[in-house]
Symmetry: C2
């Protein structure tokens, strides 16, 4: 996995934020040329494909400042330092939807924007959902609406871009294929 | 799509790079509280699901500095300023794979990292491929290997994370479902 490796000769930190870091790496290319790479460091995240006993997919709608609009996504959230992804996944599902899950399975991980960021999303499947009576509240500054849609409706939402988020589009197609029968 | 809107009261530019910009937005939340948002601005990109007449999916392997490894992706590239996505898509397919396509169809767009970046990928499907005889060369500093795999093999590559890229995983599932019969 080191094919065409770009060796770092110098790293210049530009910004160290609450969520992202930005750095410029000077690199040497396979042909000996030099170049600069703008790199965003991100702690990584989880996302949860949660399916109710009635076969509905659990979605959340929230405002995404980067896009200047609200979008519909599967429940997701950033990893805290040192946290196991499954712990984050359980917490985010509960906080954003009020659901716990008897069955919680790791599906796979993928990079979201490999051209400029190191964010990796760890994707889980949650089934046998139950409502949590005294659930941990959302942060008072988080605003999230809950939706539960059939697979057919979710498919339509991808096709007409009401679902406008890569991980969620993947989740809908995965459900449609019950991919590799892992569910 | 403005539900739970976060109104910007101030934007502080941090970095203006060759590919990304970083800015901090001071925002007012729906409950009147204030917060800061770290925002990455990106020009957007295209990606191409290219299928040969033999039904194979065209993939490229390249080093991704942000991940410090090489990964396997569908052909993709950044939009140049003012460029129509289909123009970028045709160019990137040609440069990275040596293929042109008689049939080039827009499939959909989605955000890749809405939590911190505004990158949107415009996804196209290319069919009726032909090899370009005197193709435009890759930039001499770009290093890309070409792969052509069956849908079955691509599915296995997603399952075992040899495909470790969200847009490519989506593309493989989409092919598996021939989603909405748009192909």
């Amino acid at each position: 996995m080191k094919k065409f490796e770009e060796k770092t000769t110098k790293t210049t930190p530009i910004y160290d934020g609450k969520i992202v870091k930005l750095q410029i790496d000077d690199v040497t290319l396979p042909n000996g040329h030099v170049a600069k790479r703008e790199i965003i460091k991100h702690p990584g995240a989880v996302a949860v494909i949660a399916v109710t006993d009635a076969g509905k997919l659990v979605l959340v709608e929230q405002y995404r400042k980067a896009l200047e609009r609200s979008i519909i996504e599967i429940p997701a959230g950033k990893l805290e330092p040192g946290e196991e992804p499954i712990v984050t996944a359980r917490r985010e599902l509960e906080e954003e939807t009020g659901y716990g899950a008897q069955s919680f399975t790791f599906l796979q991980a993928f990079a979201t924007s490999p051209g400029f960021a190191d964010e990796i999303i760890h994707l889980f499947v949650a089934k046998e959902l139950y409502k949590i009576e005294n659930k941990a509240d959302l942060d008072e500054d988080e605003f999230v609406d809950l939706l539960e849609v059939s697979l057919e409706e979710a498919g339509q939402m991808v096709a007409d871009e009401r679902i406008f988020d890569a991980k969620t589009a993947f989740a809908v197609l995965w459900l449609a294929t019950q991919y590799e029968n892992k569910l």
